[in-house]
Amino acid sequence: MNEQYIKNVVEAGLLAAGRSLGLEELAALFGESERPGTAAIRASLAALEIEYAGRALELKETASGVRIQVRREFATEISRLWPERPQRYSRALLETLALIAYRQPITRAEIEAVRGVAVSSDIVRTLLERGWVRVVGHRELPGRPELLGTTREFLDYFGLRTVDELPPLAELRALADINPQLVLQVGAQGEGERAALPDPTPLADDAGDLDDEPALAREPSAAAPGLVASGAAAED
């Protein structure tokens, strides 16, 4: 088994598959008696990555494995292949998707509680049809509402290995943190106020979903060109 051969087969397999392949799928490209180990396959991927430096290609590891993709810097050129513009999604859809991604498993009613408006069934259907979201169970409440969660396709599509790689959520602040005067001046009353706050310690009740996400404020994001038409093109 020489390294060049392994690398060639891995590259050819990834390109012929036209999708992400897991390490086991890559190993299965080889005959039983000459199957390289995980280390050898990882080494070939590393070698390919080096070869792709300075080219328009790159390796990307996502939830279902590794794929070869055209770098973002070439998006303008490549998108000229397809006359129709890539699909844009409404804010309503993106907010719903974000809630499902960060808060899964979650019911539609819980999404509505955060967004403050009803979630149209069109949006949920679009997400289901897109394969980004699936019903992962039911909450044991009257009506047994569906619990929604994200799929591996969602992760693949957005170039993530796990939901942990989603950008961290902004942190919640408590009223008392910004109103020390109020607390001081009101005196005893401040205690009560603090106790009654739904979220006395910032992030405390979110610690569970956030896992190890740093509670840092995110860097301000750049303007999203993809959003430009979203107001008018709202899907719901």
Partner: protein
């Protein structure tokens, strides 16, 4: 206790400086005459042709409230309820005037704001022990919670997305044969098959096959495979001291068994000379005519 609130409002250094939220301003709200409107109007004046799209662009009462708060550079944690309520109601009226389909939630929020406003006006007893909260607390929590997901939505939208930012690379493979998948067998399957055949052949009764013989039989195969037709192998080379006493014994028993079955010959050219092993040859009178099968089988 209303004055307490004013102290805070009029004391900017106290407020935690707001992180800049550029996307807030650049969040496009509408397309007017083909041009994206990325800036919310700075005051309540909205270009008439943009009004409807603009108002429709809100994702609900929380979104509208956030807009009103951000537009005035206020902190969510410190909302001047009376003023915000007034502005909120004006937008609601605008929406109603335009006969936009107004979600019921907008009106529920209006009622909520009115209720908070009235509770803010009530004096709170200084020695209250029943844990009376800031009337705005629940609204503030909801606004923050909504805002973080509004941002998360924008973050998700900016993730490097397949088919928009990056593209799956693929190459064609013409004439691809169907891969033959070799059947998988478990040891158990094979053993069950053997048990059945052994039962049928009544091998259990005769105890022909015993555990101890297996390595001998395997060794018989190995030794045979080493012997090329017509070739000799040094007898001692069939034993490896590295295998230990058991290994030597196995080889020896295997050789004896091969001899007994007439599969090998052990040759000594003269007394005390080294022993050699070769495949058994048929009766010397016969001329060996190798069949095709033999050639195929040679390693």
């Amino acid at each position: 206790m209303k004055p307490d609130l004013k102290v805070v409002v009029s004391n900017p250094p106290v407020a935690v400086p707001l992180p800049p939220l550029p996307e807030q301003a650049e969040m496009p709200f509408a397309i007017v005459n083909g041009e994206p409107v990325t800036q919310m109007p700075r005051d309540l004046y909205i270009p008439p042709q943009a009004l409807e799209v603009f108002l429709e662009a809100f994702e609900g009462p929380l979104d509208l409230l956030l807009y009103l708060i951000r537009r005035q550079n206020l902190d969510v944690l410190d909302i001047p309820i009376a003023e915000i309520t007034r502005q909120y109601m004006r937008y609601i009226e605008l929406m109603q005037d335009l006969q936009l389909e107004l979600a019921g939630e907008y009106l529920v929020m209006a009622a909520t704001l009115a209720e908070i406003k009235s509770r803010m006006l009530l004096p709170r007893s200084a020695d209250s022990t029943d844990g009376e909260a800031d009337p705005r607390a629940e609204l503030v929590r909801r606004l923050q919670e909504y805002e973080r997901f509004k941002r998360a939505a924008s973050d998700v939208d900016q993730l490097v997305r397949l088919d928009r930012d990056v593209f799956q690379a693929s190459a064609e493979m013409r004439e691809r044969p169907i891969a033959r998948v070799l059947p998988q067998v478990t040891l158990r399957e094979m053993l069950l098959a053997f048990r059945d055949v052994a039962t049928r052949a009544q091998m259990f009764a005769h105890h022909h096959i015993q555990r101890e013989q297996l390595s001998v039989r395997e060794r018989m195969s190995s030794i045979l495979a080493l012997l090329e037709p017509g070739g000799f192998v040094d007898f001692v080379r069939l034993f490896s001291s590295a295998e230990g006493r058991m290994g030597v014994t196995v080889s020896f028993v295997a050789l004896l068994e091969l001899l007994r079955e007439g599969l090998i010959e052990i040759v000594q050219t003269e007394a005390l000379a080294p022993l050699h092993v070769r495949r058994a040859t048929p009766a010397p009178t016969l001329q060996i005519v190798p069949d095709t099968g033999e050639f195929q089988s040679q390693p």
